[in-house]
Amino acid sequence: MSKEDISRRQFLNYTLTGVGGFMAAGMLMPMVRFAIDPILEKGASQDMVAVTEVSKIGKEPKRFNFKIKQKDGWYESEVTQSAWVYKNSKGELIALSPVCKHLGCTIDWNTDPAHPSQFYCPCHGGRYEKDGTNIKGTPPLAPLDVYDSQVKDGKLYLGKAKPRKGA
């Protein structure tokens, strides 16, 4: 009879192997998960944030504020960031970070009467061209960071500010 095909010994063997397998898997899974975690981790890329409507952007750099979520340990908070945005002669949108590459002050557009149409840092007189290139002879040694940008449905989305090579 087919019912007696499995002997008591076989049955116990199967059962123990099965249960043992489960236990082993239970222990191994987390270990494997830990080991390969860096591969599974999502890129730390920050989501793009809608900043303004494209129609509001002109040839003259204008400051726009936007909010991003910042994680500081366990504490998540909203931080206001700003960007200087304008359309260059080719019609491309340029979004520059307002943080001076010298020591991190906030730069402003066209505020130094002696050097109009430049970005100016009030702290140590650092200056940048409209495209963000640092002007030689002033303290900053690198051009302003540029935000990753994207246009979708007539809106400008900005991501992370990325550094560029020095002039």
Binding site: T80, C100, L103, C105, T106, P122, C123, P139
Partner: protein, 153 residues
């Protein structure tokens, strides 16, 4: 710069570029003026932090100078002067006191440094955008004072 270890490293490398310090003066009080003193702390902190953010590379926002409202003003003055002495020795030529406590306004002459006195605006009921706008506007005014001093020197 802020009083944090990361910022201190930068500061030590580029000391010659940092010549300004802001000390928030925060009174502490319990009882009936507890709420006022807390509002002052809120407000001064917000203003101080925004100023620091804008002028990060040249300005040092120090940890607040705290005191009890009932504390003897002579001793306070002495303590504060010893802070200033230390800062000057460190090369911070411009020292500003940032406060909402009107007690200091009365003794401005004795301070010897610029007092930035801003009457407190209670912010706890404001919505965030409005609050931000007010702080930005106030900081803009403070800027004028600080930038003007920089241009003179």
């Amino acid at each position: 710069m802020k009083w944090s270890s990361g910022n201190i490293t930068v500061y030590q490398q580029s000391k010659e570029f940092v010549d300004t310090a802001i000390i928030p003066l925060l009174p502490l009080s319990f009882g009936s003026s507890m709420r006022t003193s807390a509002s002052m702390a809120d407000y001064s902190t917000l203003i101080g932090e925004e100023t620091e953010r804008q002028l990060h590379g040249r300005l040092f926002l120090l940890p607040p100078f705290t005191y009890l409202m009932e504390e003897d003003s002579e001793t306070l003055m002495l303590r504060l002067h010893s802070w200033v002495k230390e800062l000057k020795a460190e090369g911070l030529r411009h020292v500003y006191f940032l406060t909402s406590d009107s007690q200091w306004k009365k003794r401005e002459q004795e301070l010897g440094e610029t007092l930035l006195w801003l009457p407190v605006i209670p912010m706890e009921t404001m919505d965030e955008d409005y609050r931000e706008e007010i702080v930005k506007e106030q900081v803009k005014q403070l800027f004028q004072v600080i930038l003007h001093k920089w241009q003179e020197s």
